[in-house]
C-alpha cells in the first residue's frame, strides 16, 4: 500500500544533503512543520532515506514576467501556470548508516507517517520517551527522558512573553506528563517537584480538577496517553500574613489546604541566611563582606542552640523577633570596626537590614512553639508536588525565599549524595534570579544547580520572558530549549538561534498553547501544542466551587 507522493524533488534549485525543495503535486499540499522523506539510491545499490521537515512553502505563477501579470491572469487574458514548492530542512540521513548525498531531482517525496515520522524526528532512537505535546497534525511530539533526568543532559529553559500561557503552564504540563505517562511514571515515583508561584495565584490549584476543560483539550491528553485530571500529592505553601498575630497563610484565592511556611531565627543565624536579604545583584561587593562578617558572628553566637527552638540567644538577650535581631546587630559596631569595614559601608549595611524588617520580618520568626517549628518548616520531600507561593511577597522577600529554598534543597541533595530520587524545580523570572550581569548569592545557587544539578539529580525548569537577560551558563546547560510567543525584537537575538531564522520569525506570531521545542537529538525545533491545564488555575475552575467558596468565606471572617 504505497502512498501517493506529495511531490517531487526540484531540479531547478540545488538539492543538497541538508536541504532541498519539493515541487508539490497537483491535488496535494504541504504546510509548515510537515514531516517528509525521500528515498535515494546510491551506486552501491543501497537506498538512503532522507528525512526532513517543511519550513517554507511558496506558490507562484509560472510563465509570467511582470508583477502586474496577475491582473491579466485573473481576467483570463494571459495563460499562466501556478506552482507550489516547499523547502525541506533535513533532520536525518539514513537510519543505520549515514550517507550524506543529496536527493535526486525528480525523486518522489512522501509524507512521513507512523514509523517513518518517528525515524525522521529521532523518536525511534529515544529509549525512554514521554509526550512533550502534539504536532499541529495531532501526532505526539516525544521528548527524550535521557536528556532531562541527567543521564545525558538535564534542565529545561522556557522563554515567552507573559500572558500567553506558555511558561509555567508548559512547565507544569511537562511535569504532569512525566509523572503520569505510563512510560515514565514508575521511574518518577520517588521524584519531587518544587514550583514557585511567582505571579498571580494560578498554581495554587494544581490538586483540583479543572471542571471547565473542553472535550477538545481532554482529547489532546488522551491522544498522548495521559490521564485527564489534577496532580496528586500536592502541597501548597504560602507565606504567613504580615502583621498578623498568629500564623495564617497569605493567599487571596485559597485557604483550604494551604500551609504557611517560615524560617526560625535560629535557622537564620545557624545556616547563614543573612546573605539572601542582600540578594539584589546590584549590591556592591563591599557590602557582601560586611554581610559575611555579620553572618559569621550570628553563626558563632548561636552555634550550640537546640534545633527545636525558634528564638536565639545573643549575648545574654533572648531574641524572639526579627526586628530585635536587627536591633541587636545594630549595636555590634565594634565587630565591623575590627573587620576594618568603613563607616559608610556599615551604614549602608544597616540601612538595608532595617529596610528588610518590614518586608521579610514575618518570614523569620522567633515566636514559634516547637510544634509549630516542625509544622511550618518547609519539608518538600514527602510530597510529589510543592507549590511555593511568593506572589504576595515584596521583591526583597521573594528573593529571600527563592534563595533560601534553593540553597536548602541543594544542600540536602548534596548531603544525600544520590541522583535519585529526582528533584524538579520550576522557577519563572530567571532573569531576576540569574541575571546575565552582576553577582548575587541567588545567582550562585541557580548556577550551581544548572552546572551540578545533572549529577545531583536537581532538574531546573527555568523560565523567563527574555532569555537574553539570563546568565549564559544557565541557558547553555539546558538540554531542552522552549520558546513560546516572543517579542519581535527579542526573537531576533542570538539566544534563539536554535529556532533557526524561520522559527525566529514564526515565534512572534505563535498562538497561546503553541511553542517550539528544541531537544539535543533533533537538529530542528519542533512545533508543539499542549492542552489547557487539566487542573484548575482559578477558583471558578475548581471542582467544588460551592465548597471552596464556603471555605474562603470562613477564612475571611
Amino acid at each position: 500500500m504505497q502512498q501517493q507522493p506529495v511531490g517531487l524533488v526540484l531540479g531547478t534549485i540545488d538539492a543538497e544533503p541538508l536541504e532541498f525543495w519539493v515541487g508539490v503535486e497537483k491535488g496535494q499540499y504541504l504546510q509548515l512543520d510537515d514531516v517528509v522523506y525521500v528515498d535515494t539510491q546510491i551506486p552501491t545499490g543501497e537506498t538512503v532515506t532522507i528525512y526532513g521537515v517543511v519550513d517554507k512553502v511558496c506558490s507562484r505563477y509560472e510563465g509570467t514576467r511582470f508583477d502586474s501579470d496577475v491582473f491579466l491572469v485573473t481576467e483570463g487574458v494571459l495563460p499562466a501556470g501556478v506552482v507550489t514548492v516547499a523547502h525541506v530542512s533535513v533532520t536525518r540521513v539514513g537510519v543505520d548508516k549515514e550517507v550524506f548525498v543529496p536527493p535526486m531531482p525528480g525523486q518522489p517525496v512522501y509524507r512521513a507517517l507512523g514509523e517513518k515520522r518517528d525515524q525522521a524526528l529521532f523518536f525511534d532512537a529515544m529509549g525512554r520517551r514521554f509526550p512533550a505535546g502534539l504536532s499541529r497534525d495531532g501526532q505526539v511530539v516525544w521528548a527524550d527522558l535521557d536528556f532531562l533526568d541527567g543521564t545525558k543532559g538535564a534542565h529545561v529553559n522556557i522563554a515567552g512573553t507573559s500572558g500567553v500561557a506558555t511558561k509555567t503552564s508548559y512547565a507544569c504540563f511537562l511535569l504532569y506528563s512525566l509523572f503520569h505517562h505510563p512510560n515514565t511514571q514508575d521511574e518518577m515515583k520517588g521524584a519531587t517537584a518544587v514550583i514557585f508561584n511567582v505571579k498571580g495565584e494560578d498554581l495554587l490549584f494544581l490538586d483540583l480538577r479543572n471542571e471547565r476543560l473542553t472535550s477538545e483539550h481532554s482529547k489532546m491528553y488522551e491522544r498522548m496517553g495521559l490521564p485527564v485530571g489534577p496532580f496528586s500529592r500536592v502541597k501548597i505553601w504560602a507565606p504567613p500574613r504580615p502583621g498578623w498575630f498568629g500564623i495564617l497563610a497569605d493567599a487571596d484565592t485559597r485557604q483550604e489546604g494551604v500551609t504557611p511556611y517560615c524560617w526560625t531565627l535560629r535557622e537564620f543565624c545557624q545556616e547563614r541566611l543573612l546573605r539572601f536579604l542582600f540578594a539584589e545583584a546590584e549590591d556592591e561587593s563591599f557590602i557582601s563582606y560586611a554581610v559575611q562578617v555579620a553572618e559569621r558572628y550570628l553563626q558563632r553566637e548561636t552555634e550550640s542552640q537546640p534545633k527545636d527552638q525558634a528564638w536565639v540567644k545573643l549575648g545574654d538577650k533572648r531574641i524572639t523577633a526579627f526586628d530585635e535581631l536587627v536591633e541587636h546587630l545594630s549595636q555590634q559596631g565594634q565587630m565591623f570596626q575590627d573587620a576594618r569595614i568603613s563607616t559608610a559601608t556599615r551604614e549602608a549595611f544597616y540601612r538595608r537590614l532595617w529596610a528588610s524588617v518590614e518586608t521579610v520580618g514575618h518570614l523569620i520568626r522567633g515566636d514559634l512553639h516547637p510544634d509549630e517549628v516542625e509544622k511550618y518548616r518547609m519539608d518538600v520531600w514527602d510530597n510529589k508536588v510543592n507549590v511555593i507561593s511568593i506572589t504576595k511577597l515584596h521583591d526583597r522577600a521573594k528573593r529571600f525565599v527563592v534563595g533560601v529554598v534553593l540553597k536548602q534543597l541543594l544542600e540536602e541533595k548534596d548531603r544525600r549524595g544520590q541522583r535519585l530520587p529526582l528533584l524538579f524545580v520550576v522557577l519563572d523570572e530567571l532573569n531576576k534570579y540569574a541575571p546575565r550581569d552582576g553577582r548575587s548569592p541567588i545567582k550562585e545557587v541557580v548556577l550551581d544547580i544548572a552546572e551540578r544539578g545533572r549529577s545531583l539529580g536537581i532538574i531546573l525548569i527555568g523560565a523567563q520572558q527574555t532569555a537574553s537577560e539570563v546568565e549564559r551558563r544557565v541557558l547553555a546547560n539546558s538540554s531542552f530549549r522552549v520558546a513560546g510567543r516572543l517579542d519581535v525584537v527579542e526573537a531576533e537575538r542570538s539566544e534563539y538561534g536554535f529556532l533557526l531564522s524561520v522559527g525566529q520569525r514564526r515565534a512572534t506570531i505563535l498562538k497561546p498553547g503553541t511553542l517550539f521545542l528544541f531537544q539535543p537529538q533533533i537538529p530542528l525545533p519542533i512545533l508543539a501544542r499542549f492542552p489547557m491545564p487539566a487542573w484548575a488555575t482559578r477558583p471558578e475552575e475548581a471542582q467544588r466551587p460551592s465548597a471552596y467558596d464556603r471555605v474562603r468565606d470562613e477564612a475571611q471572617i
Binding site: 510563465g63 491579466l72 491572469v73 487574458v77 495563460p79 499562466a80
Partner: protein, 328 residues
C-alpha cells in the same frame, strides 16, 4: 547506429537556434477586392458591434519552429542538405477569468533534400530520448528545406484548428492569414498583424484609419488570394482596431486585419468579425510586455513562449545531436 553518414554542417548556422514564429505571407500582389459584400461603398463607415454572448470562449492557435542543427550527407561526391528541426503547435482558450493552454504538441524531424530518405532517429538527451521523424524532400535547396519545416508546422496548426473547430463552439483565431493549411469551411479567423500590402483603395482605407477602439470596417471580399491553393479560395476580411495607437506612432498601429473563409457564409463571417472586434481589444498586449505590442495578443505571446520552452534548451538539444552524430 552504423550507416549514418550525415554530418553536422554549418549551412544553416545563421538560422540555427532561432525560434521563428509564423511568417505572415499575404499572398500575391494582384488580387481582386470587392468592398461591397456587407454594405455599399458609399455607406462604408466604422461599425461598432454589440457585446458577444456571455461565456463566449476565444481560442488562439499558434506555432513556433527552430532549426536544431543543419546537416549534410555526402553520397559519392554529391552533397545533400538537410537539418534537424523542431516545432511546436498549441492553443490557448480564454474564458472570463481564466486563460489556459489546452493543447501543446512538440514534434521533431530530420528533413533531407534530394529525395534522400532519412531514417527515424531516437537521440538520447539527458534522461530521455528525442525522436526525430525522417522527412524526405525532393528539392535540395536549403531555403526550401528551411521552408519545409514551416510547412510541417502550418499543417499541424491546420489540423489542430480543424479539430478544435469541430469540438469547441467558441471563436477560433489562428495567428497569421488563412492559407491552405486551414480546411475550407471551418469557422475560424486568421489574425493578420502586418499591413505590407493594401487591399483597399485610398478612400476606403481612410475609413480603416479612422477606426476607434472596438470598431471594425465593413467586410470586403478578397478573391482567389491563396498562394498555395491553385483553385483560389475567396476570403472575407475586415480591419479592426484592437488598441489605441502608441503616441507618436502611425495610426495604423493597433489595427489588425481579420480573414474568414467566404464559404462559411457572410452571416457567419460577420458574426465572427463582430465577436473578434469586441473581444480582441481586451487581449492586446501592453508595450512593455512584447516587442510586437499591442497587436501581438497576450495569450498568443504567452503561448509562443510556452511552446519555445517546450522545444527544449537549444544548446542542450544541439549537443545531444552532435554527440549522437559523432558517435555514429
Amino acid at each position: 547506429m552504423r550507416g549514418i553518414r550525415i554530418k553536422p554542417h554549418p549551412w544553416a548556422q545563421p538560422y540555427e537556434g532561432v525560434v521563428a514564429e509564423e511568417e505572415e505571407e499575404e499572398g500575391p500582389n494582384k488580387v481582386f477586392v470587392d468592398p461591397q459584400v456587407e454594405v455599399p461603398r458609399e455607406k462604408w463607415a466604422p461599425r461598432s458591434p454589440q457585446e458577444p454572448p456571455d461565456g463566449l470562449e476565444a481560442i488562439f492557435v499558434d506555432g513556433v519552429r527552430r532549426i536544431d542543427v543543419g546537416v549534410a550527407e555526402d553520397d559519392g561526391g554529391t552533397l545533400y542538405w538537410g537539418m534537424f528541426g523542431s516545432y511546436g503547435v498549441g492553443a490557448v482558450v480564454c474564458r472570463q477569468g481564466q486563460a489556459q493552454v489546452i493543447e501543446e504538441v512538440v514534434e521533431r524531424c530530420l528533413i533531407m533534400g534530394g529525395d534522400r530518405i532519412p531514417q527515424q532517429l531516437d537521440i538520447p538527451c539527458g534522461s530521455g530520448l528525442l525522436r526525430y521523424e525522417g522527412v524526405s524532400l525532393s528539392s535540395n535547396q536549403p531555403p526550401e528545406i528551411r521552408g519545409h519545416l514551416q510547412k510541417l508546422m502550418l499543417q499541424r496548426e491546420g489540423s489542430l484548428v480543424s479539430r478544435l473547430g469541430k469540438e469547441e463552439g467558441g471563436l477560433i483565431v489562428i495567428d497569421g492569414p488563412l492559407t491552405s493549411r486551414v480546411a475550407k469551411g471551418v469557422p475560424v479567423i486568421g489574425y493578420v498583424k502586418t499591413h505590407h500590402r493594401s487591399y483597399l483603395d485610398e478612400e476606403l482605407f481612410k475609413v480603416a484609419l479612422r477606426l476607434s477602439l472596438g470598431t471594425r470596417t465593413p467586410l470586403f471580399q478578397i478573391q482567389g488570394a491563396d498562394p498555395g491553393d491553385k483553385d483560389g479560395v475567396d476570403r472575407l476580411s475586415c480591419y479592426v482596431r484592437v488598441s489605441e495607437p502608441v503616441p507618436g506612432h502611425h495610426a495604423i498601429g493597433g489595427i489588425v486585419r481579420l480573414e474568414m473563409w467566404q464559404v462559411v457564409g457572410r452571416e457567419v463571417a460577420a458574426r465572427l468579425a463582430d465577436w473578434a472586434t469586441t473581444i480582441l481589444p481586451r487581449l492586446a498586449s501592453a508595450s512593455h510586455w512584447d516587442v510586437r505590442a499591442p497587436v501581438n495578443l497576450y495569450p498568443v505571446a504567452a503561448l509562443e513562449r510556452e511552446l519555445r520552452h517546450r522545444l527544449g534548451d537549444h544548446y542542450w538539444v544541439r549537443r545531444a545531436i552532435l554527440q549522437f552524430l559523432q558517435r555514429g
